[in-house]
């Protein structure tokens, strides 16, 4: 996904006025939220599982070099090849080279945020190699020439009418309007792509250091096809996806499925260790693991934000974020959206490229409460805000600094505080609307009132009411 600079303010403004998108956002986030809540309540010791998962991720990240070397050794022992890519460009180059050496004409892909991150499809196309997204949502997005808007449900911003028109225009077929019919069309087209493809590219949800196994979780079966049918399988895996031990999977698979979609288990989980064995019937002859850094290793140096790398990409923080629920995925400007996007995009791409994102949060902490590895989002957001301000790219200008100083002066002097309190009631009157709230303040406060009302200052101050009621409520 093309990345230049995040324009959160501009893009979120557009999103808020996009009615179909607003409806879709409510539907998808409510559905996933309800399902997640129910699924987590079904597990009696849910919070203990989260704490245990966090502990294992902490251990992994704090020993990342050792576990990466172990993973490398085990994958090689199983007959696979391991490649290391320091950035997006190198990762794409490695994968395109594997394709060239294997004389690959067409590639099938299963859903992978990492491949979105490195814009792999562009590199294949530049090299004249056909590449097809096979996750239904991703296929729709690829046909439309757009980008995913949700980690789990990438095409959720499109209605079935949109998709019906799109299929008809791009595939030259009659209009089908039912989701089942559209799905059937996609199944038939994609099935023949699978059978003809020379190479499959997948991501991974986990990579197990102890056994050299990569784990892919899905519901559709396209990842199984991608990793089974073509003669070459390439898995692109971020270096933070490691977990140490085979048995750790029982914990992580339990929290992942429930946090992502509220399922007890996703429909399919594939545990892939190397290429097919000589006696196996079917399965890829070559297995390549491409380990992607692309800015991740740099995050380790900050003790405050290191835990950003614990993320297992379940999407629960998106569904529970009051900001994401209004502005949608595209506003975050890059592949990762919602709270996780707000913390990792600035860290992976550089804080100067996304200075607005750490501020795209109300710091309510709903993300932290649902995170299966208990990432402390508010703490990280504050740390990043500090970095933004220190790098002078931030939103504190002279006005803001002056305002804060004035505020400080006022609250430090009781008599001035009292007078200001009283005066603010009268000062606000010209802007007070019929509903008794402030609904159109001048700039810069208009940035609030353009979208919503601001509660008016009451005539009686809290201190006066307290005095009148003699401390009793009412």
């Amino acid at each position: 996904m093309g990345f230049e600079e995040v324009r959160f303010e501009q893009d979120s403004e557009k999103a808020i006025h996009n009615k179909p998108l607003q409806k879709a956002l409510v539907n998808v986030t409510n559905r996933f939220r309800t399902a997640r809540n129910k699924a987590s309540e079904d597990v009696p010791n849910w919070d203990n599982l989260r704490a245990a998962a966090r502990e294992i991720k902490k251990e992994t990240i704090e020993n990342l070099d050792k576990y990466l070397l172990m993973l490398e050794e085990r994958v090689k022992r199983a007959g696979g090849k391991v490649h290391w890519a320091k950035d997006a460009e190198e990762a794409s180059q490695i994968i395109v080279n594997i394709a060239r050496e294997g004389n690959v004409k067409s590639v099938v892909k299963s859903k992978s945020m990492a491949t979105e991150e490195i814009e792999l499809n562009n590199s294949f196309e530049d090299a004249g190699i056909k590449v097809i997204e096979t996750d239904l949502g991703e296929y729709i997005i690829q046909l439309a020439g757009e980008h995913p808007s949700h980690i789990i449900a990438p095409a959720i911003h499109k209605t079935k009418e949109d998709i019906s028109k799109l299929f008809s225009a791009k595939l030259g077929i009659p209009r089908y309007d039912k989701p089942e019919e559209l799905t059937k069309v996609a199944r038939e087209i994609l099935r023949s792509e699978f059978l003809n493809a020379d190479m499959g590219v997948s991501g991974a949800n986990f990579a197990v250091a102890e056994t050299g196994t990569i784990v892919v979780v899905e519901n559709e079966g396209n990842a199984r096809l991608t990793t089974t049918v073509p003669k070459i399988h390439v898995a692109l895996v971020g270096i933070e996806k490691l977990i140490p031990r085979y048995e750790d999977l029982s914990l992580f698979l339990t929290v992942l499925a429930r946090s992502a979609t509220g399922q007890k288990s996703s429909t399919y989980v594939s545990f892939i260790t190397g290429p097919k064995r000589s006696t196996d019937i079917g399965g890829p002859e070559e297995f390549h693991l491409v380990l992607l850094d692309n800015g991740r290793s740099k995050i380790l140096a900050s003790e405050e934000t290191r835990e950003s790398l614990y993320c297992i990409r379940c999407g629960a923080c998106l569904n529970n974020c009051p900001v994401y629920r209004k502005v949608g995925g595209h506003s975050y400007g890059w592949v990762y959206s919602g709270p996780i996007g707000a913390i990792i995009t600035p860290q992976l791409m550089g804080i100067d490229k996304a200075p607005e994102l750490p501020f795209a949060s109300s710091l309510c902490g709903a993300c932290k409460d649902v995170c299966p590895v208990k990432i402390d989002f508010p703490k990280i957001l504050l740390e990043l805000r500090k970095n933004v301000v220190e790098s002078k790219k931030g939103s504190t200008g002279i006005g803001e600094r002056f305002g804060i100083r004035l505020w400080r002066f006022t609250v430090e002097h009781e008599s001035i505080y009292k007078i200001t309190n009283k005066l603010s009631y009268y000062f606000q009157l010209p802007w007070k609307g019929r509903n008794g709230k402030l609904n159109s303040l001048p700039y810069p406060f208009s940035r609030w009132t353009d979208q919503r009302d601001f509660p008016a200052v009451a005539k009686k101050t809290f201190r006066e009411r307290w005095k009148n009621n003699k401390g009793e409520t009412g």
């Binding site: 559905r31 251990e59 704090e62 020993n63 576990y67 990466l68 085990r74 199983a78 490649h83 290391w84 890519a85 320091k86 490695i94 096979t134 996750d135 239904l136 949502g137 729709i140 990438p154 095409a155 998709i163 989701p179 089942e180 799905t183 199944r187 994609l190 099935r191 250091a209 056994t211 050299g212 559709e220 079966g221 396209n222 199984r224 089974t228 140490p244 031990r245 085979y246 048995e247 999977l249 029982s250 698979l253 007890k264 288990s265 429909t267 399919y268 989980v269 892939i272 260790t273 290429p275 064995r277 196996d280 019937i281 079917g282 399965g283 850094d293 290793s297 740099k298 380790l300 140096a301």
Partner: protein, 231 residues
């Protein structure tokens, strides 16, 4: 090029983690877990609750749109398959050459009943067979999950490419939960080289909700899943 990046990445990681290294030697330090004795304990617990597990497993399967066939004998497997042949107008099948399926001679019986056997060696042909028949290595009761291990007699595509997948589960395949499963798998993992190239968990038929969150079955994998539970 790639080799330089390897060193560069490892170097950045080590530099970033300077001062954190208190975990020296903690890597994989859970050697005090004895998976052999844990697995014995797990098997004991499973044996104690087997009939309850079968019921729970069947219930969970039904929740994920799976057709459950409970049978008492090996003969009934054949009969229910013949019923299915009629109902779904099956003409061809592919099947694992695994030990239990050989024991019950299912392949021959289906051939005798007029179904055409499709070899798993050709992906295009297997994709065109009407049903894929497997057994399972394990079955997880509390999630309704089938666990299939790939080996020379158990090709991956039989449970993947045909539009219908039928799996036969025996009581001894059942485990209570995913925790049990990994204790057992780990206790059997004497040698890293012996690990299968592909283990697959299957919980229900292929599904998607990518178009307006509307649940649609059979988007890529089998549209229908039948599980025969032998009791």
């Amino acid at each position: 090029m790639s080799n330089n990046s390897r060193e560069e990445i490892l170097h950045t990681i080590r530099k970033g983690l300077e001062g954190v290294g208190k975990n020296e030697g903690k890597v994989l330090a859970d050697a005090n877990r004895n998976f052999h004795s844990e697995a014995e304990e797990v098997h004991k617990r499973i044996d104690e609750s087997q009939s309850a597990l079968i019921m729970q497993f069947a219930d969970e399967l039904k929740k994920v749109n799976t057709n459950v066939i409970e049978t008492g004998s090996k003969n009934e497997i054949k009969e229910s398959l013949l019923g299915l042949k009629k109902e779904k107008e099956l003409k061809s099948f592919s099947i694992w050459e695994s030990q239990f399926l050989k024991e019950i001679n299912l392949k021959q019986e289906l051939k005798d009943a007029g179904l055409k056997l499709v070899t798993a060696k050709n992906k295009n042909r297997i994709a065109n067979s009407d049903i894929g028949i497997t057994e399972v290595d394990y079955a997880i009761a509390d999630t309704g999950t089938l666990v299939l291990l790939t080996d020379k007699n158990q090709p991956r595509s039989v449970s993947l490419l045909p539009p219908i997948h039928l799996a036969i589960v025996r009581p001894e395949n059942l485990v209570r939960n995913i925790g049990d499963l990994f204790v057992i798998l780990k206790s059997k993992l004497e040698n890293i080289e012996d690990i299968t190239s592909c283990m697959t968990f299957i919980t229900g038929p292929s599904r998607t909700a990518d178009i307006e969150l509307s649940l649609t079955l059979g988007v890529h994998g089998p549209k229908e899943l039948f599980v025969v539970i032998l009791s």
